[in-house]
Amino acid sequence: MADPMKIRANLAGDTTEVKVLMSHEMETGQRKDAQGKVIPAWFIQNVTATWNGKTVLSAEWGPAIAKNPFLSFRFKGGARGDKVQVNWVDNRGDKRSDEATIA
């Protein structure tokens, strides 16, 4: 199973800033191993972030996103103590869901 994400969500004024680190290889499918065999592509395809059940960001990614991906964005609203949830699904169907409390 994939390792947990590290999510930080901080309120500044009326805006919540979310920063996410994900643990993922993001293998491009373009590289070869020492034996010359192509290493199959393995990457996160879909990311969604929700706050109080409302989607605040969704994304489709290709393998050109860097290994151990970082993502940051801001949305209006949010209160200290609210939960922000981030989900990802990769091209193998592996997935991960973690949440953070807005501070």
């Binding site: 605040v56 860097a66 989900n87």
Partner: protein, 156 residues
């Protein structure tokens, strides 16, 4: 397990089955709707990407800014990219790398209430133009920036 799951999805598709999958812990609510635009991630030109994303062509815009994006990347494996749009009704922001094997790196959908600005990190195989493609009110707009990728130190 992976193959089995896909077969199940192909064979079924009814609500009852999806509920069953969800109950089995294979799917979470909302996941079944997750879409991935495979065609868009296999394009090799800006025009082709815009078409694959459902547009006609993209107009150059001065209202798209690269934020915290260096001109030179010390390593192409991790290139920080920040894009911010001041175009009203921005719906999505895409990142494209001209000289990557496939141009499209990511598409971010921006729902109302979310600032039209995202920061992430991409891979670049070599020095290249990077495009910020913004869809706003149904129309596509684009800005570009050249980012140089440098070589490493000893033994590189």
């Amino acid at each position: 397990m992976d193959a089995g799951r896909r077969d199940v999805l192909k064979a079924g598709g009814g609500t009852a089955l999806l509920t069953l999958l969800a109950a089995a812990g294979w799917l979470k609510p909302g996941e079944a709707q997750a879409a991935w635009n495979a065609a868009a991630f296999e394009t090799h030109s800006l025009d082709a990407t815009v078409k694959a994303l459902g547009g006609g062509s993209a107009a150059a815009s001065k209202d798209i800014a690269f934020v915290s994006t260096p001109d030179i990347a010390e390593n192409g494996a991790v290139v920080p990219i920040g894009i911010s749009s001041s175009i009203p009704k921005t719906e999505s922001i895409a990142i494209l790398v001209e000289k990557n094997p496939n141009m499209l790196a990511a598409v971010f959908d921006i729902p109302p209430g979310t600032e039209p600005a995202v920061t992430t990190r991409i891979k670049m195989g070599q020095s290249s133009n990077v495009y910020a493609l913004v869809k706003a009110d149904g129309k596509f707009h684009v800005a570009s920036k050249e980012i140089k990728v440098t070589l490493g130190g000893c033994g590189g």
